[in-house]
Amino acid sequence: MSVLVGDETRLVVQGITGSEGKFHAERMQEYGTNVVAGVTPGRGGDEVLGVPVYDTVKEAVREEDANASAVFVPPAFAGDAVMESLDADIELCVAITEGIPTHDMVRVNRRLDEVDTRLVGPNCPGVITPGEAKIGIMPGNIFDSGNVGLVSRSGTLTYQLVDSLGRRGVGQSTVIGIGGDPIIGTSFIDSVRAFENDEDTDVIALVGEIGGSDEERAAEWIDENVTKPVVGFIAGRTAPPGKRMGHAGAIVSGSGTGTAESKMEALRDAGVRVAETPAGVADEIDDLL
C-alpha cells in the first residue's frame, strides 16, 4: 500500500508543453510514474514524450482514464487549471505552481468543499512514494523506500531531511509536500491521517514552519487520533514578525500569532518529539526505528 500515488496512478500533466511541465513530466516518466496524457489548450492532437496532448482535462479523463493531475501552469492561470481538474473528477491534483494569487485559492478552496478531489499544494514539491511513483518536482534519486511518512510545507528543507535520513539508511514510505502558501488543499491533518492509516508507515515526520495555525491544529488532532510516533520540526524560529520569509504563507503576524514557539509547544504538548535541528530530526527518527 502507498499513500496518494502508486501503480494505479494515471497522470495527466497540465501544461505539458511548457518547459517546466515537459522537463518534469519526463523526470516523472523516468521515475516510473504512469503519465497518460498532457493538457495544453490549443495543442490538442499533438504528442509530447510519447503521450497525447488534449485541449481540456475532461478529454484526458475521457480518453485516457486519467485519475491524477499535476499542474505546471503559470501562476496567473494555475488556479483555473486546478479548478479544471476539480471539475473533471480527478482524484488527486498536485499543484506545483508557486505564486497563485491568494484570492484564486479562496475560490478553489470553496470549490474543494463541493467535489471529491484531493488537492496537494499549491507551491509544493509534490508527492513521492519512493521506488513506485512521484507526482512533482522532487529529485527522485535522493529518496529511498522505507517506513517514515514525511509531510512538509517546504521543498528543499524536505530534501535536506530526506538526505539526512538517507545517510542514516532510513527510507520513506511516502513524502508529501503540502506547500508553502497560506491557502492549500491537503493539510497536515489530512497527511498525518493518511500516514496513520498506512500500513507501510511506522514513524511520521511533520515538518512545519512559521505562519498560520495548521501545525497547532494538527497537534490537537495527533493528540487525539494518532498512535504512531511523530517527530516534528518547525522552521523560522528567528523570523521577525510581519515579514514574509520566502513562502507566501511563512509569516508571523504583527501581533505574534503563527510563531515557531507556539507550534513547537503545541506539538510537544501532543507528545510529538520536536527537534531543534535537521540532524536532530534524523536522530530522533533513527532512535525510534
Binding site: F23, R27, P75, A76, G99, I100, P101, T102, H103, V106, R107, N109, R110, I137, M138, P139, N141, I142, S152, R153, S154, G155, T156, L157, T158, Y159, Q160, D163, G180, P182, I183, V207, E209, I210, G211, G212, S213, D214, R217, A235, G236, R237, T238, A239, P240, K243, R244, M245, G246, H247, A248, G249, A250, S253, G254, S255, E276, T277, P278, A279
Partner: protein
C-alpha cells in the same frame, strides 16, 4: 505589499469611505504649509510600517501650523522601532464621540475572508480578540456569494453599533470587502473608524495589504509599490526576484528554498551567531543570479561572513558550483569570507569544482558553525 497609511487612505477615499483631509509631506516646512491649508488642529503622523506608532512617539497633535512644523521636525528622520521616518501625513484632527474597528482580512484557516466590526476601536484588535472576544462581531464570507448586505448588517448590529451609525458602518464594511475582493487584498482595515457627533464616520487610520502574487493584475496598486518599500535592499531584492528580508545580525545567508533558508537562519542563531538577512535565491543558480545575491548580501555593512547553502536536487550541485565560480569572477576580492555548502545530487563533484576563494563544508551544522566563527561568534 503593505501600503502606507496615506496610500491606503487614498484608495479607501476613492472607494467612497470618508477620510479626513490630509497631505503627505517630506519636510517640516511642507508640513507647516499643509497644516495651514487644512486649518485647525492637525495630526502629524509618521508613515512607517510599525504598530503602535502613537505610543512610540510617531504621532503628534498640532494646534496650528507652527506646532505642525515643530512636530514634523521631531518625527521626520526619527527611528521608529527600527524604521527610518521619511514621510509624515498631516491630517485634519477629527472630533469623535466613539471609535470602532472595521476590517476584512483573509482567514488562512478557513481559506476565506472574515469581515469584522468591533465597538472597541482604536486599540490593538488582536488584543481585543484575546481578552474580550465578544466585543468583536464577525462573519466568514462565502466567496460564492461575496459579502451579502444582510451579512454586513448582522456583523454591524452584532457589534452593537448605534442605530444612527449602523447604516454608515455597514456601508464601510461592504466597501472594505469589495476592496479586499477586487484589489486582491490580504487585509483591509480601519482602526479606528471614528464616529462623529452627528453620527457620521471617518476613517482615522487605514491598513491595506495586497497579495504580492496578485500585483501583476493590480496595476494601480503595483505602481505604489516602490513608495511602499522602506528598505532599499528589499526593493533591489524584489527587482532581482529574490525573497529577501534584512535583519540585524552579521551573518549573511543565501540559500535555495524558503524552508531551508529559514532553517539556516535558525541554525546560525542556534550556534551563537546572528543572521544579517534571509535570501532565497530560488530555483536554479546561474552565475548572474548568484552574483546579484552575493552583491546584495555583501553590500549590507553589518555583514562579516556569508554562508551560501544550497540543496542540489533537480539542479545538480556541479551546476550550482559552476554558477558560483562564474559569479565569483565578477569580484576582484571577496569583501568578507564566504562559506559554501552543497548537498544533494552530485554534491562531491560540486565541491571539487569550487575554487579556494571560498571555504566549503559538507554538513549543514558544520557549515553554519564555520560561518558563525568567521563572523566573530564562537560557533558553538
Amino acid at each position: 505589499m503593505r501600503l502606507h497609511e496615506y496610500q491606503a487612505k487614498q484608495v479607501f477615499a476613492d472607494a467612497g469611505i470618508p477620510t479626513p483631509s490630509s497631505e503627505v509631506v517630506e519636510t517640516a516646512d511642507a508640513a507647516r504649509e499643509a497644516a495651514e491649508r487644512i486649518g485647525g488642529t492637525v495630526a502629524v503622523k509618521a508613515q512607517v510600517h510599525v504598530g503602535g506608532r502613537g505610543k512610540a512617539g510617531g504621532i503628534e497633535l498640532a494646534d496650528d501650523a507652527d506646532e505642525a512644523h515643530e512636530a514634523a521636525e521631531g518625527i521626520l528622520g526619527m527611528d521608529l522601532k527600527g524604521k527610518h521616518v521619511e514621510k509624515v501625513l498631516v491630517e485634519e484632527a477629527v472630533d469623535f464621540v466613539d471609535e470602532l474597528y472595521v476590517g476584512v482580512t483573509t482567514d488562512r484557516g478557513e481559506g476565506r475572508a472574515v469581515a469584522m466590526v468591533s465597538s472597541e476601536g482604536g486599540v490593538n484588535i488582536e488584543e481585543v480578540a484575546e481578552e474580550n472576544p465578544d466585543a468583536i462581531a464577525r462573519t466568514h464570507v462565502d466567496p460564492a456569494y461575496d459579502l451579502r448586505p444582510f451579512e454586513a448588517r448582522e456583523v454591524v448590529y452584532g457589534a452593537n453599533v448605534d442605530r444612527e451609525t449602523a447604516r454608515d458602518v455597514t456601508g464601510v464594511l461592504s466597501t472594505l470587502y469589495e476592496l479586499w475582493d477586487e484589489r486582491d487584498a490580504d487585509d483591509a482595515e480601519i482602526n479606528p473608524l471614528m464616529v462623529t457627533e452627528d453620527g457620521g464616520v471617518v476613517a482615522a487610520d487605514a491598513v491595506f495589504n495586497i497579495d504580492d502574487s496578485a500585483l501583476y493584475r493590480q496595476e494601480e496598486l503595483a505602481e505604489m509599490e516602490d513608495e511602499a518599500f522602506e528598505d532599499d535592499f528589499e526593493a533591489r531584492a524584489s527587482d532581482a526576484g529574490f525573497d529577501y528580508v534584512r535583519l540585524d545580525g552579521n551573518v549573511g545567508i543565501i540559500g535555495n528554498g524558503a524552508g531551508l533558508v529559514m532553517t539556516t537562519l535558525d541554525l546560525v542563531d542556534h550556534f551563537g551567531g546572528s543572521p544579517a538577512n534571509f535570501l532565497d535565491i530560488g530555483g536554479g543558480a546561474d552565475a548572474e543570479r548568484v552574483q546579484a545575491a552575493l552583491e546584495l548580501v555583501f553590500e549590507y555593512e553589518n555583514v562579516d561572513s556569508v554562508l551560501f547553502n544550497v540543496f542540489g536536487g533537480i539542479t545538480r550541485c556541479d551546476e550550482v558550483a559552476q554558477g558560483i565560480n562564474d559569479a565569483l569572477e565578477a569580484f576582484d576580492e571577496l569583501p568578507e569570507p564566504l562559506v559554501v555548502r552543497l548537498t544533494g545530487t552530485n554534491e562531491e563533484e560540486g565541491r571539487e569544482l569550487l575554487t579556494d576563494r571560498v571555504e566549503t563544508a559538507e554538513g549543514l551544522e558544520e557549515a553554519v558553525k564555520r560561518t558563525v566563527e568567521l563572523s566573530g561568534g564562537d560557533g558553538e
